[in-house]
Amino acid sequence: MTVMRMAELVMEGVTKRFGATVAIADLTLTVGDGEFLVLLGPTGAGKTTTLRLVAGLEGPDVGRVLLAGRDVTPEPPAARDTTFVFQQYSLYPHLTVYDNLAFPLRSPARRVPEGKIRTRVLEIAQLLHIEDKLANRATQLSGGQMQRVAIGRALVRRPSIYLMDEPLSSLDAKLRAEMRVELKRIHRELGATILYVTHDQTEAMTMATHIGVLDQGRLVQIGSPREIYADPINTYVAMRLGSPAINLVPRRLYPNVEAPAAAETIGVRTEHVRIRKSANGGAVGRVKWIEHLGDQNHLHVTIADTDVVTLCDRDAGVVVGDAVDVELTAPLFFAANGERVRAN
């Protein structure tokens, strides 16, 4: 392709307050054409507000929102070319599945002929495997089907950007896993630009081309899932990804590890902790608890007064109470304020 791909969404220095609360603070963000950006953060981090600002359901106090190169900041939602999948309540209970899917195309702003609507709705229903449910009332569907229809409602249009607000959070674990694969497939097949918010790190890691981590309305770090996981800029970002969570141990417990001077905390992921049964008396830790999860075992080791969690083979022969040597293979260093300190 010779055409330069234009960024679909640009947010420039956007700030949004609700009364005295700052929901979004000076947010600058770019989502390129075909990107699947997942905004990750806990409740209250400003994820939903960001989506609502892009959709035009809220107006920013400061800053601009550009869609496909056009400044849409003053425009009402209907004039923007976006689509929104809500966390829940996205289907109209008084309409059938077919009419729900057709609803966006029937908007007076679009005036799509009924024949075209029919073709498009059937196409999307097939894509989502709900073609046999079209005549049902929305209320007669299971949770998974409802959410598929909700996503389908977004897909019948080809907007410049799809906005999704934790669309999988109301589903059970099995369905959520299926829908993750489904969404990723849709993203690939349609080449869609998607801005997706969630607090679920698995969704972020599995689907995103880029992850942005939000903390109290600020974008802390943005990058590929690999970058965010392997190279976090502070402990907050480090803690958001990885399960079990990254181990943060005081620097003083590991006097032998070569570390930058400012390092106060060592961060080490579970897979980077190596355990050896202690042969001599110089052991640093003691096995406190072993969790058997079936596919993996979590070993909780107490070092001084700090717990470190690591993975271990079932047949490593370690039992509770064993004295063990703990080796850190890929440590990350953080200063007292939580910021990353890089070696040299």
Binding site: P77, A78, F84, F86, Q88, Y92, H94, F103, R153
Partner: protein
Amino acid sequence: MTSHAHSVVQPSPLSQRIAGVIVVLYAVITMVPLAWIFLTGFKSGPDSIAYPPKVLFTPSAEGYCNLFTTRSRQSPEYIAQLPPTSGICDAFARTSNMVVVGASNFVPRFVNSLIIAFGSTALSVVLGVTAAYAFSRFKVPAKDDLLFFILSTRMMPPIAVAIPIYLMYRDVGLSDTRLGMILLYTAVNVSLAVWLLKGFIDEIPREYEEAALVDGYTRLQAFLKVVLPQATTGIVATAIFCLIFAWNEYAFAVLLTSGEAQTAPPFIPIIIGEGGQDWPAVAAGSTLFLLPILVFTVLLRKHLLRGITFGALRK
């Protein structure tokens, strides 16, 4: 949709049966006066005031004849020289030395009641649903004070303002007009409508409209296509409450209407005065008077039941 529903324990068969018996008993007790009115409408004059009261009697159309006609007393000689009776009502009249001289005012009064009650109900619901939507969704300055003010209009009995309204209506020419009565009943009902409907609209998640807004609909279109259909239950319940008030209202009707715009409630008692205490005619009028509300409620009962229990089921 909210998960914190109340008790889901099935009542035992015995308590269900007892509850059933109580409901049937209550229904019977409330139905007896209605049944009595219905029966009295088909009694003859003497049967209607017989003591002990007659449960079994020969049905007669006299009450309905008297309701729909006006009659005048004539001498037996005059009646004897008249041509043969032209209808059943004429025949009834002649047995008591009267002749039918024309139609009574019952039909026009009944039509007035229909126009005024349904007109004010429609207006109350339209004003109520738009105001309730605004209160529910938009930042309205001094919202709580306004809502309280709207509610406060119901804190005194409406009749307390009857005299001022009578004087004002006389000045602006609304006395004894259908429009005047529609406006008056709407003014009384609209506070109820706003409060009831705000509750219903509050329960409709905003996401529904927001989805429509993002999909290219304007606020008004989203309101019409998304909010209204989901508020149907609330609208129906509100409409029935408004209609019942406007239909039954008596005090204002007596004071403000006397001719052209008189409604059925002040008209029916007047029948008593015409040529003796004509209870069958009053009962006939009352029976017919019940019908519109009955039909309206039965047609919409599915919504009404859901509407009245709505809050209880969801909270």
